[in-house]
């Protein structure tokens, strides 16, 4: 199992009495794009927030690179090499684009100016707007910024929670182009998506999640795409 980068086992996370995750187990292989699909309310965001340490698991474990990290605080999880691009982007709206990137580099003690330069080459729009407040950017630009901010910590594993949500088709294409580029450059990616069609094109492995449980796991092609899409949007019960 040496090529398993992230291992989630029997994870239970609850909001009060309601269990949003009812024992989730899954793996993300080193160097892969792994995708998590499922209808609204399935618990995908809850899973991401639990892996990132924002939510505390009631039971179960999360291991990253063989190291248990269920009890770590969020900043320690970032330090160990896992960064989450959260749902709805969550940039720092009253801070400049540049300061958003600096915040993403908080864990780093080395000189990160070259990283900013590199990210500006990848996201030229961010360079143009580097002195602008993040709250004034368009949705697509904010998504780019959220990705760039996460990359500032030089993650080995990038978690992305619905990066295409609410974006125009052209911008969605650009997001997916960036995902494949990052993957090619060696970043392992665990991607939550509603856009099953696009997700299945880039992923090597995918999981289906419904009502707090993993209900299917396979490679793209192991289940007819229209069946995946049906279950990803509606759930298999309906």
């Amino acid at each position: 199992m040496s090529d398993t980068l992230l291992e989630v086992r029997d994870l239970v996370t609850a909001y009060g009495k309601i269990e949003a995750l009812k024992g989730v187990s899954l793996q993300v292989k080193q160097g892969s794009i792994t995708c998590l699909l499922g209808p609204n309310g399935a618990g995908k965001t809850t899973l991401m927030m639990t892996i990132a340490g924002i939510l505390r698991a009631r039971s179960g474990t999360v291991a990253f690179a063989g190291r248990e990290m269920t009890s770590l605080r969020p900043h320690a999880i970032v330090a160990s090499g896992v960064a989450l691009v959260p749902e709805n982007r969550l940039v720092f709206p009253a801070m400049t684009v540049l300061d958003n990137l600096r915040a993403g580099a908080y864990q780093r003690r080395d000189d990160f100016a070259p990283d900013i330069e590199k990210l500006f080459q990848r996201f030229p729009r961010l360079k143009e707007r580097s002195a602008q407040l993040a709250g004034t950017l368009s949705g697509g630009e904010q998504q780019m910024l959220a990705v760039a901010r996460a990359l500032m910590s030089r993650p080995k594993l990038l978690l992305m929670d619905e990066p295409s949500l609410g974006l125009a088709p052209l911008v969605v294409e650009e997001i997916f182009r960036i995902i494949t580029e990052l993957h090619r450059d060696g970043t392992t990616i665990f991607l939550v998506e509603q856009n099953a069609h696009m997700a299945l094109k880039v992923a090597q492995h995918f999981y289906l999640m419904e009502q707090g449980k993993v209900t299917f796991s396979g490679d793209p092609g192991s289940l007819a795409e229209d069946e995946v899409i049906k279950r990803a949007y509606l759930g298999s019960a309906k």
Binding site: P74, V78, P86, L90, F92, M95, Y106
Partner: protein, 289 residues
């Protein structure tokens, strides 16, 4: 009449400068933690009592007293943070506020155990009389206060906009969850912000005590009230707003005191607080809509 207006304006700005120092510290904590720290003033009061205690028993120069005020306020502030704010991290704002009220009582008890009389003298900031020019008078203490307020605001701006700590603190003000996701050590930054706010408060407490040349336990409530009022006037949580709110508060007090008499000075502050609480929610919503 016009001369009085000018004189009142000068006095109001001088008072406003001291409120500005108090308000900046208060607002810093509110902005970063989204919590009202009622023990903000009492921690400052305790700092000033520590300095008074040293002054009475051992004697010390003004600079040493200033240092004691700042350090003791920071220590008391850190104590409040550990007990009221750190444990409630994501919990209810009300619980933290009530806890900070309980500590207020505790800090007052400690101060009154150490120095049981109601009033103690504090060494003066400046021995000479006020400066006079063109028929107006300005106290040297007021000029020191203004210079301190300007310096502190400039330093604070530098910290917030030119340091790694400042990036982290502003990130927390903007979005606490995103700050954690960015890898910011949120508990450590909270503690740092608390210490910084308490240090500013301690400096304000020292300057105020040395200007009025006395300390009473009332300094605690008074400081919390002025800080809270200025912050609310400035639109809740904005640092430049808090400075403007503090100056407005100082000016309103100085002018209304002249019209209504000195007994009503603090009444005016309470009246403003009442009006803000009555119409405040709408004003705040309109600014944060």
């Amino acid at each position: 009449m016009l001369a009085d207006l000018v004189q009142n304006t000068l006095d109001g700005l001088a008072a406003g400068a001291s409120y500005a120092l108090l308000a900046v510290g208060f607002t810093l904590v509110f902005g970063v933690l989204r919590r009202v720290n009622l023990s903000y003033g009492p921690a400052i009061m305790l700092g000033c009592y520590a300095a008074t205690f040293v002054h009475l028993h051992y004697g010390a120069g003004l600079l040493a007293l200033a240092a004691i005020c700042v350090l003791a306020s920071v220590a008391a502030g850190a104590y409040v943070e550990r007990l009221c704010f750190a444990p409630h991290g994501k919990g209810s704002a009300i619980a933290a506020m009530v806890a900070s009220f309980a500590l207020w009582m505790q800090l007052e008890e400690v101060a009154m155990l150490a120095l049981p009389r109601h009033l103690y003298p504090f060494p003066p900031l400046y021995e000479g009389g006020p400066l006079a020019f063109a028929g107006f008078t300005v106290r040297v203490e007021a000029l020191v206060m203004l210079a301190a307020a300007v310096t502190v605001c400039a330093l604070l701006w530098g910290i917030l906009y030119r340091t790694r700590f400042g990036v982290a603190a502003r990130a927390m003000i903007d979005s606490p969850v995103a700050a954690e996701l960015a890898g910011i050590n949120v508990p450590r930054i909270s503690m740092g912000v608390f210490a910084l706010a308490s240090a500013i408060g301690g400096l304000a407490g020292f300057l105020i005590s040395a200007s009025v040349e006395q300390v009473t336990p009332m300094l605690g409530m008074w400081s919390t009230l002025k800080g809270l009022l200025a912050m609310m006037l400035g639109g809740l949580g904005s640092l430049p707003g808090a400075v403007i709110g503090a100056l407005v508060l100082g000016l309103v007090e100085a002018h209304s005191q002249w019209f209504l008499g000195p007994q009503l000075r603090d009444f005016i502050a309470f009246l403003l607080l009442f009006i803000l609480l009555a119409v405040g929610p709408r004003w705040i919503r309109s600014r944060h809509g």
